[in-house]
Symmetry: C2
């Protein structure tokens, strides 16, 4: 086993990832809003990964993992367990390379999510909705197929891929004082840390998290990973805990982690839809919710805000009753 | 009274409008979608006026009218009767010039719409929800204030302003075979006709209309304006009839008008939100609904699609029950 230091990706890995994935991803636009600038007293630059291929930034890391495989490994395909954007993104990436993608999903996952994964070419194997069943079924799938496991975030290829997002953001803006992104498992934030600590070390890196899933915030304060068992939040992309690779970046480079309540997240989400006319996930609203809650941390600054994805169930919007 | 021909705006008026309004409007982006290209067999270029100031293309015409006034006239302000995007846009434009904007709205209009107009600085005078009351109240407001009437679409300054949209679209794309936009009163379509007949006369101009408010389609077939009394459609920006100035352009330059059912409009709207991650009004979905319904008219062509606005009540989306 290699020691940790030798495994940590470098900025060269981000540059290599960017070259590798460029044909398969969008260089997403950066939007501004005079309304939100007035409201917050900051100058905000929204990096719109909701417009990304497969609807989320996760396609960056997934493509880097898939297109970095040598031909022999690639032939056997890739595999993951996820019912979210990583499953879509890995299916998309594998489809572009023409290799299989195996996704283990709970039998109870919404039919729409299964259909979306299949729509991108993913092959679903169902498990029972428990960790034991998921692990057993995933092991069986890997054994049977020999597919390469690509973890949603605790994977160095994935982190290097996510690092391409903040690289574009810096190229698209004329200097920033801070960048803020939502934090779940920490893949996007780790990518920001990796890139910004190299090309813009003065830029402060903030993470934003639901109060009801504030394990990363508590981890940062405690100095070690704290994992919650089953947090409940509308920001369903942010329920997962940090793992050792993302903890390395979060613990070394993140200035602070702010939290917002469920209602603050929903209000910020609705306000963004109303004023910016973009469809984005509840998770993406957490950064803006915290900027509105702690304006003194951002006032007068040029702040990059990463809108991480746009895959929303339009029949179940969080501000609708029922 | 001047004769009609001498009053029709020319492309020089569009160029002058563009210069006049440039500081107050966005040059909105043109988005593409590989998903919709595959689905339709056409190459679609979506001109996103939902990202426009005040949330709709109408701000182009409103700004041209407001900033074209001489100082003496401007001092007395502008006035209109509208409960839709024109009221917001005229309020925004007047606010930027620092002059009053008087809006006559039915007492029964949704509180959210009144709040939005006031949010942009418009001064509302309420009338009863009848044409008689509206005309009487509007006459009283004009008499009292001396404000300049700016009609939502049957106004040559407004038409010249809307013509700037298709001018940008042509600059932003590498040639088009056709442009399609929704048609209500015909302001946007007239602007397209004015501009394209001058700078790109080979581009076919199509309009799209709800089946349940198909007065423009019937007018084109009949060769004269047909006005419906009170059409009912989810595309609430498209209920108004053509008037003489817009009829001039529609009757001379529009190749065809396609219609779509309510369900087709709602489906196309929802699909656009899902796949393009943009918030747009039901009216904007009518063009895509007709492209999906009549693919043979568009297959293999490069088609500009004008997304006219994004001011939607997020609490009452048309695909939600109730």
């Amino acid at each position: 086993m290699k020691d940790m230091a030798s495994m940590i990706p470098t900025f060269d890995d981000v540059v290599a990832a960017h070259r590798r994935i460029a044909p398969y991803i969008h260089r997403t636009p950066v939007l501004t809003s005079s309304y939100f600038n007035e409201l917050t007293g900051a100058e905000l630059f929204f990096k719109c990964e909701n417009f990304q291929k497969a609807g989320a930034f996760k396609v960056r890391g997934a493509c880097n993992a898939v297109f970095g495989l040598d031909d022999d490994k690639a032939k056997k395909g890739v595999a993951t367990h996820s019912s979210g954007n990583h499953a879509l993104s890995l299916s998309y990436a594998a489809g572009r390379r023409g290799i299989p993608c195996h996704v283990v999903m709970p039998r109870t996952a919404p039919e729409a999510k299964k259909a979306a994964v299949r729509g991108y070419g993913g092959q679903i194997t169902e498990c029972e909705p428990s960790t034991t069943s998921r692990e057993a079924v995933f092991a069986e799938v890997q054994e049977r197929t020999g597919a390469e496991f690509v973890h949603p975030y605790n994977d160095l290829r994935v982190i290097a891929g996510q690092g391409t997002c903040s690289r574009e953001l810096m190229e698209q803006t004329d200097g920033l004082d801070a960048v803020i992104a939502p934090i779940g498992g920490g893949g996007m934030i780790s990518g920001c840390c990796l890139t910004l600590s190299n090309i813009a070390p003065d830029v402060q890196i903030y993470a934003a998290e639901p109060e009801q899933a504030d394990d990363a915030c508590r981890s940062l304060k405690a100095g070690h990973i704290i994992a919650d068992d089953a947090p409940v939040t509308v920001a369903d992309g942010l329920k997962v805990p940090l793992k050792e690779n993302t903890w390395h970046f979060v613990s070394n480079y993140v200035t602070d982690i702010f939290t917002a309540s469920e209602q603050e997240i929903i209000d910020a989400m609705k306000l963004t839809w109303q004023r910016m006319k973009i469809v984005m996930e509840p998770s993406c609203a957490v950064p803006l919710a915290t900027i509105l809650k702690y304006p003194e941390a951002f006032r007068g600054k040029r702040v990059g805000v990463i809108i991480t994805g746009g895959n929303v169930d339009l029949d179940r919007l969080p501000w609708m009753a029922g």
